[in-house]
Amino acid sequence: MNTATDMVEVPLYRAAHCRTGDKGDRSNISVIAWHPELYPLLVEQLTPESVAARFRHRAPARVQRFLLPRLHAMNFVLDAVLDGGVNDALNLDAHGKALSFLLLDTPIRVPSALAPLLAGP
C-alpha cells in the first residue's frame, strides 16, 4: 500500500451537500463541496457519465454538468429523469426532491490527507 496516495472510500455526503430542483421532466441537482480543497476531487470523480450511471434506473435522456469554481460547486441537469414530472409521474415524490440523496450516497475516493476536512461523525 502506497501511503503517499492512501485513499479512503466515503459516501459523497461527507464531502458535499446537494439540493434538487425540478422543472417539467428535468431535475437539477447542485453539488457543493464542504471545503474548497475537496472540490477538485469532486470534479474528477462526479462526471456526467458517472452521474448518469448512478441514475441509470431513471434512464436520463441527457446529463449535463456546469462547474462553478467560485462557489466550489457543480450543477447537474438531468433531462427526462422524472417520469414526466409533477403533472405526469406516478411517483409520490413526482418532483424528485429525494434524488439529491440518491446522489449523496455515491461512493467517492478521498486521499487520507484530506479526510480531516470531511463532514459528519
Binding site: 428535468r26 437539477n28 467560485r70 459528519g120
Partner: protein, 473 residues
C-alpha cells in the same frame, strides 16, 4: 404606463439599501411566517435613515395552483385567488400599512381583482386607512379571445385538448409602474417569481428596463427570497451534517438590495433557522440549469462568476456578489394547463415476519388483475420514492425481509371507470389477498397536465390598474 427615459442619478452618498422580506414561498407555506418578518422590517425602518424603504412579498403560485384557481373561478366569479390570502395577510396588513411597508404578491392567481376587493374589505374590518391597491394583468390567456393565438403557437399539440388555463410568465415592469403610480399593494396573477423583487427594486432605484446587470443582480436576490425559508434553514437540515437550530420556528428571509442590485441575505430577528454560505449556495442553484443563463422575462441572469460570503461580524448574514445580467428574452414563456385523465392510487400495509414477501405477493396479484393498466408499484419502507414508474429499480431490489411494508400501486387512465378498477382491486385484497393486509386507502384524482410554449412579447398586453373606490367596494 410611465416610460423611464434615464436611470436616476447616483448620489454622492449612497442611498440606504432597500429591504425586501418574503412571507410566503408557495401556496401551502406557513401562514405565521409574516409576523416576525414585519416586526424586523419595522425595527430596521425605525432605526435606519429616513429615506429607507421596505417591501413584503408573498409568492403563492406553483404550476398547477393557477389551473386549480381557474377551475374555482369558473364555479364562482368571486373566487380564483389564493384561498389562504386572509390567513396570510390579516396578521400583518394593518402594521404594514401603518409603517409604509408595501406589499407585492402573485396571490391574485386567476382573479387579482377579487383578491384586491378582499384586501380592501380586510383593511376596513381592521380599521386601517383604505390602501391604494393595483392589479397587474395581461398574463391570463385562458379566455376564448386568446384561443386563436394559442392555436397558432401550439399547432397540432392543441388537438383535442380541454384547456383549463393558459398564463404567460410576465415580468417586473408593470409592478414597477404600479408602484411608481402610488400603489401600496400590488396584486398580480402569474409573474416570474423573481419579478416580485425586481419590480420594487426597479421602482425604488429608478432603474431602466434595459439595465441588465442591475436587473440580473436583483433577479438573483429575488430568486434567493422566492422560496421563503429555503434560503435560511428550510429544506436544508440533515441531523449531524447540516444542523439547523429552531427548525420549528424557522425565520423567513429579508434581503437588503443596494442601488447596484447587489444583496445581503438575512432573516427575521428572534427566529430559528440559519443563513450561511451553504444555505445560500443551495438556494442560489435551486431550479437553475445553465448558471450563465438563468432566463426570466426581465433579464438573462448570469451567476457563473458569482460569489457568496458570510459577514464576519454578524450571524446569519451572507452577501452575494459577482452576478451579471444580459439582454432579456424576446418571448414570454406560457404555461397551458389541460385536463389529463384520472390518477388512481391504492395502498395496503403488512407487518411482522415475511411482511415484505406478502406485500410483493399482493403486488403480483394486482398486476395480474389489472393487466391493461400500466401500474407503478412502491414497497414503502423497502423502495418507494427513489424508484422509477416502470419498476426498473424495484426489479433490481431483492426481498430484504423487511417487517413493516406498505404496498402502493398507482396508474392513470383517460377514463374514470378504468382508473376506478385499481381502487376496487386494492380494496378487495382485504378478503382476497395475502394474510394480515390492513389499512387500505384509495384515492381517485382528476389530473391536470401542462404544456409550455413561447409567445413574442408584443403579443401579450401587459398592464396595471390602480383600482378606484367602486372597483374595491
Amino acid at each position: 404606463m410611465t416610460v423611464r427615459l434615464k436611470s436616476a442619478p447616483m448620489n454622492a452618498i449612497a442611498p440606504p439599501p432597500l429591504l425586501i422580506g418574503c412571507a410566503a414561498g408557495f401556496s401551502g407555506d406557513r401562514t405565521d411566517a409574516a409576523g416576525p418578518v414585519v416586526d424586523t422590517l419595522i425595527a430596521r425602518l425605525a432605526g435606519g435613515p429616513a429615506q429607507q424603504r421596505a417591501f413584503l412579498i408573498f409568492e403563492t403560485l406553483a404550476e398547477r395552483t393557477l389551473a386549480l384557481a381557474q377551475l374555482r373561478r369558473r364555479d364562482n366569479p368571486e373566487a380564483g385567488y389564493e384561498p389562504l390570502l386572509d390567513a396570510m395577510l390579516r396578521p400583518v396588513l394593518a402594521r404594514c400599512l401603518a409603517h409604509g411597508i408595501r406589499i407585492v404578491s402573485n396571490f391574485g392567481a386567476a382573479n387579482p381583482r377579487a383578491a384586491a376587493r378582499h384586501i380592501a374589505r380586510m383593511a376596513r374590518e381592521l380599521g386601517a386607512a383604505a390602501p391604494r391597491i393595483a392589479v397587474v394583468e395581461g398574463d391570463d390567456l385562458s379566455g376564448p379571445e386568446h384561443r386563436a393565438l394559442l392555436r397558432e403557437t401550439l399547432g397540432a399539440q392543441m388537438e383535442g385538448l380541454r384547456i383549463v388555463s393558459a398564463n404567460a410568465y410576465i415580468g417586473a415592469e408593470p409592478i414597477a409602474a404600479a408602484l411608481d403610480a402610488g400603489a401600496q399593494i400590488v396584486v398580480c396573477g402569474r409573474v416570474a417569481d423573481p419579478s416580485l423583487t425586481v419590480g420594487p427594486a426597479m421602482s425604488h432605484f429608478g432603474w431602466r428596463a434595459d439595465d441588465w446587470h442591475r436587473l440580473g443582480r436583483a433577479t438573483m436576490a429575488g430568486h434567493l427570497l422566492e422560496c421563503g425559508a429555503q434560503v435560511c434553514g428550510g429544506y436544508f437540515a440533515d441531523p449531524g451534517y447540516k444542523d439547523v437550530p429552531g427548525l420549528e420556528a424557522v425565520g423567513f428571509p429579508i434581503a437588503e438590495i443596494d442601488a447596484d442590485g447587489n444583496c445581503t441575505i438575512g432573516k427575521a430577528d428572534a427566529t430559528g433557522g440559519l443563513v450561511s454560505e451553504a444555505t445560500v449556495k443551495e438556494q442560489l442553484l435551486y431550479e437553475v440549469h445553465d448558471p450563465s443563463a438563468y432566463l426570466t422575462p426581465d433579464v438573462v441572469a448570469d451567476i457563473a462568476e458569482a460569489e457568496v460570503k458570510r459577514e464576519q461580524c454578524a450571524a446569519d448574514r451572507v452577501a452575494l456578489s459577482g452576478v451579471r445580467g444580459h439582454l432579456r428574452p424576446s418571448h414570454y414563456k406560457v404555461n397551458v394547463c389541460h385536463e389529463g385523465g384520472w390518477l388512481a392510487e391504492g395502498e395496503i400495509s403488512y407487518a411482522g415476519p415475511r411482511a415484505e414477501a406478502r406485500a410483493r405477493l399482493a403486488a403480483e396479484v394486482l398486476r395480474k388483475r389489472l393487466d391493461g393498466l400500466a401500474l407503478r408499484v412502491d414497497l414503502i419502507g423497502a423502495l418507494s420514492i427513489l424508484g422509477d414508474d416502470a419498476g426498473r429499480m424495484l426489479a433490481d431490489t431483492p426481498d430484504a425481509g423487511l417487517r413493516d411494508v406498505r404496498l402502493r400501486v398507482a396508474a392513470t387512465h383517460a377514463e374514470r371507470g378504468q382508473a376506478e378498477r385499481l381502487a376496487r382491486e386494492v380494496m378487495a385484497l382485504y378478503t382476497c389477498g395475502p394474510a394480515g393486509g390492513g389499512g387500505v386507502r384509495t384515492a381517485l384524482t382528476p389530473r391536470l397536465n401542462t404544456l409550455s410554449c413561447l409567445l413574442p412579447r408584443e403579443a401579450v398586453r401587459v398592464r396595471f390598474e390602480l383600482l378606484g373606490k367602486e372597483a374595491l367596494a
